[in-house]
Amino acid sequence: MKPAPFDYAAPRSLDEALGLLGEDAKALAGGQSLVPLLNFRLARPELLVDINGLSELAGLERNDGLLRIGALTRQSALERSELVAAGWPLLTQAVRFVGHPQIRSRGTVGGSVAHADPAAELPVALAALDARFTAQSPRGRRTVGAGEFFIGPLTTALEPDELLVEIEVPAPYDRAGSAFVEHARTHGDFAIAGAAAVVARGEHAAIALMGAGPAPLRAPAAERALVEGAEPEEAAALAASAVEEGHRRALIAELVRSAIEEAAP
């Protein structure tokens, strides 16, 4: 389990980093997903662009009611942020399910998003919060929503020369509560399924599912039903209805139900 040979660069500026990225290059942030893939020789980039020195990409700030998360922000920083806990508690709730503390101390928010593992928690929470994702390349900057960004397992809208630089998260509906729940075989293991909920019953609802499809999936029918006053169980059944396999459907329905109840008791 040693990686295949690769070249290594540690650029000092974002521009330098962007100039290095491309078809045969990979950005190295926290390395919690990429390094195992390298060690299994499943990823064989010619060049590893280590962006850990680009401190301008790390940080959490509130700006015009938006939370701006630098892509290089460590998951542990997100977990410990009082700003996030006060304004975007769903992210605090979700990040605690990411691996173990050791993993979160290295792993980055941007890495988790750009890697797009279908069992990753942060993409699901960010999808529920209508987050927008900003990518940059020498060609310029663009910002897309979750529906456009997450394409499938380990697949995003990022072009090979693009780097995810920032995630902006609008303030959640002010009377809504939130919850993140998931099922995993063991604590810290990859989840089988999960659900994120931001709910003020009869007023507002955002539900995102993990394990119901190849990428984070919103549940618009369930959201509408909740706004119209449906009971959690009814909304949960709507959210899970797209899932074909019986047990997974039951699991997702149960997770959504408990997420709604926890978010808006």
């Binding site: 195992p36 990859f190 039951a250």
Partner: protein
Amino acid sequence: MPPARASEVGSPAGGGLGLVGRPLRRREDERVLSGRSEFLDDLDPPGLVHLAFVRSPFAHARVLSLRPPESAPGLLAVLTARDLERRARPLPIQTPEGAEVADEPHPLLAPGEVRYAGQPVAAVVAESRALAEDAAELVEVEYEELDPVADPAASDLALLRWRQTSGDVDGAFASAAVVAGGRYAMPRLVAAPIETRGALASHDPARGVLTLWCSAQDTHRPLRHLAHVLDLPAERLRIVIPDVGGAFGSKGSLAPEAAVAAIAATDLGRPVKWAEDRFENFVASYQGRGMEAEVELALDADGRMLAVRARIRADLGAYLLPATAIPPHTAAMLMAGCYTIPAADVEVTGVRTNKVPTGPYRGAGRPEAAYFLERAVDDAARALAIDPVELRRRNLIASFPHRSPLGWTYDSGDYRRCLDLALELAGPRPPSEGGRLVGSGVAMYVERAGGSFEAARATLEPDGRVVIRSSTSPHGQGHDTTFAQIAADRLHVDPADVVLEFGDSALVPGGTGTFGGRSLAMGGSAVVRAVDELRERCAQAAARLLGATEGEITWSDGGLSAGDGRTLGLGDVAAAGPLEASARFESGLVFGSGAYAAVVEIERATGRLTVRQLVAVDDAGTIVNPLLAEGQVLGGVVQGLGECLAEEATYDDQAQPTSVSFADYSLLTAAEIPPVAAAFVESPSPLNPLGAKGIGEGGTIGTPAAVANALADALGGRHVDPPFTEAKLWRAIHG
């Protein structure tokens, strides 16, 4: 009061310091926890080079051609099966008593045909492990794919056959009021020690000695295996075991890769290291369990067991490694459990599949037997509408020695006391409520340990310390603490003055090996014998020094005293000349036992299982150190729960392994462990001076059977095999 004779003082009945039975803390932990231990991969001798393997990507294929690269950075050598011809034999095969085994040993490197994905095809030596892996990629192997066998039920190739029939089985079944049982299966498991396997070989041409540092359970099995493979006399080989980060049975046999390292070191004249990585450990380290049984119990109307019939099918994998045939045989021999069943007909068929071979994994046949039989007992209780605890009570063996219909003689036990204590600790079964199905269950077990021999040598050093060299070897169990405790107890010294040495075939006496919960009963008893012999020598020397007769010498904390009160410390005795005693201890098998109870809860909506409570009552004979014994039980329980909740080595229908990392194969964390109540019943074994049996495996034996019975209780009698995943349980509930 007449002075006691030294040899009498050494008897287990009295005269000890009272250390045996005390919960001394593990003295080996400080070194490990402070990072001062040295594992195989920490060894870095000058000139060291590294070994990596080209492994088959196919479960079954013919090797049409194999072309090593002309050159590669840091590449030193590529070895293939052809290079090993006439230089190395495959590993030997151990045959259980009464069994027929096929002559299908594991070749070191695949000679023309590969039979499992991950099998070593060629070995690459380079200046670093990374360069060796790079060069291994450049070895061009052309394969012709053949049809693999993934499902043991579809295999018609038996590598192992064994059958035992005793008593009037047909008559018992013909006259039975009820015949109950079923088909029960345990999946393959990965031992997953935190330290993977590995070896470092170094050849000294001047002395003609090949030294193999090896992450192993003991010195003398790797020594015998390597001597067989290389056809060398044992004195030309030396096995050294550094600190070992767990084995659980998986390091009992010499790894084929370790033998290749030995050959490469001899060829190159440089030390060669193979440090297995986690991927290799998943695909190429022998796995455990992988057995299925059809079990039938014949009972009369009162619930008396008349006979047991069992057909066990074991998925042995592609070859027979040295101990591959042992666990299925052990499972078969234990199919009468702790019950007075007069007749038995048990047959084992070990079949070939295109998977890595199986071998001993903590419990090694015992968990399977307990699971097969105890599930059948609960199914019988349901058929008879008798409480499962009551059904067990009516059939428990109560007098010892007891000869089982399968031929083993149980030495001692108190099965009723184990069951009573387990029930007392478990308390009443909680009710099902709301969306949760609650169930409780008990399971009992008998296990074999010990047998054959172990050896020890005790030396009184001039500084008064006692050095003990033992044939058994620790890899987490706590030998250093318990063996020092035993020796200090009998020599009336501080345990700190007893130094244990293990793990170097040039220093320690030969033994059978460290496995199957045998270290204390056999290795510990050898320590007792060596120390008692040393006591006698000390008494003789003291008598000489004090001008007394040996009979006048008494032992006390301060040393050895003559009748007139003059006393010598052990140091004074040692100063007069070195004293040493060796002992070899041999005995028949000892049989530990236990009763486990579990309470489980299934979430009806999702099938999610929570083990709410687990009770472990083990009878391992005399407990030398209750703290370490409890640690052994808890560790076993955690592994047993892992088997219940999460663990399974999976393969697809082409026999490709699909659990090859901890992302696919889950080990439990502390968060999944329920409250565990552990208690001991002590029925000393009459077969050894400590009265000890084995404690290392009880947790893995009792836990799956008890949880499975609790689960069937929650599911209204429906049977589910482990791992008890939520998908399986959901289907069991929702049809």
